[in-house]
């Protein structure tokens, strides 16, 4: 089995195990306000980190890709206008694609 398949299966097992654990463990695990706060904030930190790294990261360096950043700008505008998820994605990809077709980025 290749490393990629192992990563795919490990992700699937890990994600499912967390879901099942949530339904199974006693409710008092989150009794402490600090534990609850930490658990609630982890996705915020991770999603922000992911967005930043995928927007500006290029392997182990940071680089600015004007078309990609413009695409993210379009996503922000769509989000501010409360557009549905798929519209946000299409606005981002469409903006980047259009700028690249014009030779920008």
């Amino acid at each position: 089995m290749t490393g990629l398949w192992m990563a795919v299966l490990a992700t699937a097992v890990g994600c499912y195990a967390l879901k099942l654990a949530g339904l199974t463990v006693p409710q008092r695990v989150l009794a402490s306000p600090r534990a609850r706060r930490f658990a609630g904030l982890v996705p915020v930190a991770l999603l922000a980190g992911l967005t930043a790294v995928e927007a500006l990261g290029h392997a182990q360096s940071l680089s600015v890709d004007p078309a990609r950043l413009a695409g993210l700008g379009a996503a922000i505008i769509a989000l501010a206008l409360r557009a549905p998820f798929l519209v946000v994605i299409l606005a981002a990809a469409g903006t980047a694609a259009a700028l690249r077709a014009l030779g920008i980025g």
């Binding site: 699937a12 339904l23 695990v29 306000p33 706060r37 658990a39 930190a45 992911l50 798929l86 994605i89």
Partner: protein
């Protein structure tokens, strides 16, 4: 992705199930974006589909695809993806009392826990409506998400250069869309998000790809241990 929680609460099980089915159909189409992004990142069509069938949690799937595209450590990529899935564990804790599933039903119900099914279930006024909403969302989202993943993965393979279609922006735009409603919740969330970005970007030149995102989670630890920050989600003072 959690718009269902914004509407007025409803309590009829039939209405809850219908709302869930509609939401699942709409959100599930974004599986197109995941399928395309996964294949563009270097995963095979089969690997993209197995992720949607078995992991069945969008943000984690996008995260793994992003780590594969970055060519970094797969272990860090898996760690980031699974850590991102930890919120489903929290959803499970909140849903356990509503679903009251045991044995095989619980094993099945666990698989159905996503942002969307949780939002629909928690928006209902009665446990019966919550269960109906959860099931309706699970059924329709699971079907749509997986069919859309397959279509997106097959379609991406036929495109020429992924960047010319803007597919490299799909991942970050998806993360931003998932993050957005949390940024509206308060100053703590916005502070944690900013710190997470700074940590991840600062660590990028020094770590294998994938690890900076895992390190960003320490931003949440800092905020949770800080005295005086308001409780998130519950509205109760700590």
């Amino acid at each position: 992705m959690t718009d269902a929680a914004d509407g007025p609460p409803v309590s009829s099980p039939a209405r809850a199930a219908r709302d869930g089915v509609v939401l699942g159909l709409v959100v599930g189409t974004s599986g197109l974006a995941f399928g395309a992004a996964a294949v563009t990142s270097g995963l095979t069509v089969a690997q993209a589909c197995v992720l949607s069938l078995l992991a069945y949690t969008g943000a984690s799937q996008f995260a793994l695809a992003g780590a594969v595209a970055g060519g970094g450590s797969l272990i860090a990529g898996v760690a980031g993806a699974v850590l991102l899935g930890s919120r489903n564990g929290l959803y499970g804790l909140r849903l356990a009392g509503l679903l009251r599933a045991r044995g095989l039903p619980r094993i099945l119900a666990a698989h159905g826990i996503t942002d969307e099914s949780t939002a629909v279930a928690l928006a209902q006024l009665t446990p019966a409506a919550a269960r109906a909403g959860f099931r309706g969302t699970f059924a329709s989202l699971y079907l749509t998400w997986n069919l859309a993943t397959l279509a997106g993965a097959l379609g991406a393979g036929r495109l020429g250069s992924p960047a010319s279609f803007g597919l490299d922006v799909v991942g970050p735009a998806a993360f931003l869309a998932l993050l957005w409603p949390r940024l509206r919740e308060g100053r703590t969330e916005r502070g944690v998000a900013l710190a997470g970005m700074v940590i991840a970007l600062g660590a990028t030149p020094f770590c294998p790809p994938g690890l900076p995102v895992v390190l960003a989670a320490t931003a949440a630890l800092g905020a949770a241990l800080m005295p005086g920050t308001p409780d998130t989600g519950g509205g109760q003072p700590a």
